[in-house]
Amino acid sequence: MSVMTVPPSRRASARRNGVGYLFVAPFLLVFVAMLVAPLAYAGYLSLFREQLIGGVSFSGLDNYIQALSDERLLDGVLRVSRFFLVQVPIMLGLALSFALALDSGMMWLSRVIRLGIFLPYAVPGVIAALMWSYLYGPQFGPITQLAEALGLPAPNLLSSDLMLGSVANIVTWEFTGYNMIILYAALRAIPTELYEAAAVDGAGAWRIAWNVKIPALRPALLMALIFSVIGSFQLFNEPELLQRLAPNVIDSAYTPNMYTYSMAFISQDVNYAAAVSFLLGLVIVVVSYTVQFAVARRRT
């Protein structure tokens, strides 16, 4: 938490701190109504089961027990874990390199390039999928046509071997620029003295980047990492959109979140979907804390 300056008098400060409730109240009110209430309702629903024949009955923790031994769910969790371990380092690595390159002041056209890389963030997932599904096309897509023109075997980007990579590419395309901007902004805020000191010591651009800039980016990187944990484990949009092109590769349990969706809307099992969502939320909390813990430990 933030460290506050020592207050003038304890009582005045206590009274004033009470005003804090008034400031956070509007947000919390909406938050409770729009997120907590549906969450609580979903939690309640997760304790029941409902059949087309037989109706609703209380089932206690049955849904959770069933989910824990649900192989399709487990497969999905493992798949997004793999995705997280591969895609996130690539995306953040690229974002970091781009940010450092922009910050180095060693390139022409940096404003234009910065905006170009950031632009995909403003493109809705709907439209991103429309564009990439064209580019991925296994017969007439430009990637295939280019490979054929060069006499290379055209990769089928929608096959089961390459699909996770194709999904990762879209996510990377959408969010590298966004992460780059966050990191770049953080770089711009590093106090000049740090550079000057290093420059005086005769450090080159690489050494400054490695010894001064990257350590200073640690908090920004941690934030990007935590949001990437959430993004990866809740992966939904991109595979959902590619499912139309390759429904036999991306099944309804491809990612855990697609599985809850399919349970809620195809199998009409809102109750089980709610239970799976809560378990997935738990996994995300655990992974987020692990990541934070790992980063914190390395720092000391």
């Binding site: 897509g141 390759a246 590769v249 009409q268």
Partner: protein
């Protein structure tokens, strides 16, 4: 990354097609409909209701349907119908189901595809139209369309609006070039597939899409399989892996494995290009296909012709159906009489029914239109001047009438993709995949409380 919650909610355009499920809702009591005799509403009551100022809400995804609605309002000035496009098929069903669950917000009249009717009737979502004189309309419709709107106890759950009897569109130019006659039987079709692909490896006789089971289901229908039947209120029979289905599986998976047919996702960018660039020499499709093709493959104008599906037995004429929808009345309506009259008028009034074929390009289920000269004699330049509607009108007579659906078709359709469709795409054992499909449907049905017979 940002706001994962919001980002996740932004599902894509393409996904809407496969959006949501359609096995029954969840509003408690199961309604098996009319074991009790139904009392007809008197003509006096109908007359009174049709003169009382009423507003109806009608959910449909047909563009420009307001023209037909205007005919109804002209005849019944007291009734005004508000047309709302609540989304295409699955998107609409998801909304309808949630609205029914919430107990408010549902429309009075709604467009539903045939196969999704049972999913709404099992939870008591639809109104039996018999008391409103719907039974009298039976003879106006082809029997296989009527069969699909009829309940197990004789209920009339909806009025048929359009159908999709299946036929074969083929590229005459490609056939001529390679000396191939339009195949009359599936054996000839297989031989033609091998011959064509050997002569030109960039062309496939047809594409067998593995991203949905509509064609598969239509072919089961043609072959006389009755895969989905309600035996009683809580007993279903599932037979998707019987002898005939296995025959279908070995036929299609055999050709796909040989590599003489393609297995691309249809209605995708790639597929549209394939149609335009002559990658596929036929399209096995429904009666709504010809118009669709003429607007999406304009480059190939004049090169296509229409024929019936090849047959399993030479000399026989059988087909299946793919698509088509109905107008149903939602049980929660406050104006059942006006709603029922509207559903009937829209699809049976001669002028309105004809308009559906000329403005919305629907293929008609009414006997009157299927023998109407103005309709069947139309010639289409895209098909070299052929009378396309006539070909399909003849096919429509050959669709077996006893095909029915189960209340959880979305689950069934989704499971097909992950079993049979997957095996076709991966060129693995389709026989085993059929058994797996049978098994996943059975497991789901039992979990939902049904007794399952094969």
């Amino acid at each position: 990354m940002t706001l994962p919650r919001m980002r996740r909610l932004a599902v894509g355009a393409a996904a809407t097609l496969f959006l949501a499920g359609c096995a029954g809702g969840t509003t408690g009591s199961t309604n098996d409909g009319g074991d009790k005799p139904v009392a007809a509403i008197s003509q006096a009551d109908i007359d009174k209701a049709m003169k009382t100022p009423t507003e109806l809400t009608f959910w449909t995804w047909l563009p420009d349907i307001e023209k037909e609605v205007a005919l109804f309002q002209k005849k019944y000035p007291a009734i005004s119908v508000k047309v709302i496009n609540a989304g295409n098929s699955q998107a609409e069903y998801t909304k309808l189901r949630t609205a029914l669950k919430a107990g408010s917000g549902a429309p009075d009249v709604v467009q539903i595809e045939y196969q999704h009717i049972p999913g709404f009737t099992i939870t008591g979502g639809l109104l039996d139209l018999r008391p409103y004189g719907a039974e009298a309309l039976k003879d106006r419709f082809v029997d296989w369309a009527w069969g699909q709107v009829s309940g197990r106890n004789g209920e009339v759950w909806a009025i048929p609006q359009d159908t999709g009897p299946m036929g074969m569109l083929y590229r005459k130019d490609i056939f001529d070039k390679h000396g191939i006659e339009p195949p009359k039987t599936w054996d000839e079709f297989a031989a033609a597939a091998r011959k064509l692909h050997a002569a030109d490896p960039s062309v496939y006789l047809t594409n067998f899409p593995t991203n949905h089971n509509s064609i598969w289901t239509g072919l089961m229908w043609q072959a006389g399989v009755k895969p989905f039947q309600m035996k009683s209120a809580d007993q279903v029979s599932v037979d998707v892996a019987g002898e005939t289905s296995k025959k279908l599986a070995s036929y299609w998976s055999g050709l796909v494995k040989e590599g003489v047919l393609s297995a691309d996702a249809d209605f995708s960018d790639q597929w549209f290009q394939g149609l335009n660039k002559g990658r596929y020499a036929t399209w096995l499709t429904a009666a709504w296909g010809p118009l669709f093709l003429s607007t999406s493959a304009k480059e190939t104008r004049g090169k296509w012709r229409v024929a019936p599906l090849p047959q399993w037995t030479a000399g026989e004429q059988k087909s299946g159906n793919w698509g088509g929808s109905t107008s149903a009345v939602v049980k929660t309506t406050k104006n059942p009489i006006a709603a029922a009259m509207f559903a009937q008028f829209l699809n049976t009034d001669p002028e309105s029914a004809k308009m559906l074929t000329t403005l919305q390009f629907l293929y008609p289920p009414t006997k009157a239109l299927l023998s109407d000269q103005g309709f069947v004699d139309q010639k289409s330049d895209f098909y070299g001047g052929q009378q396309v509607n006539k070909v399909f009108a003849d096919i429509s007579d050959t669709v077996p009438a006893d095909f029915t659906w189960l209340p959880f078709m979305d689950q069934i359709n989704n499971d097909w993709n992950e079993t049979v469709g997957k095996s076709l795409a991966d060129k693995t054992d389709t026989d085993a995949a059929l058994d797996k499909w049978q098994q996943t449907i059975t497991t789901f049905a039992e979990k939902q409380g049904f007794k399952v017979a094969r």
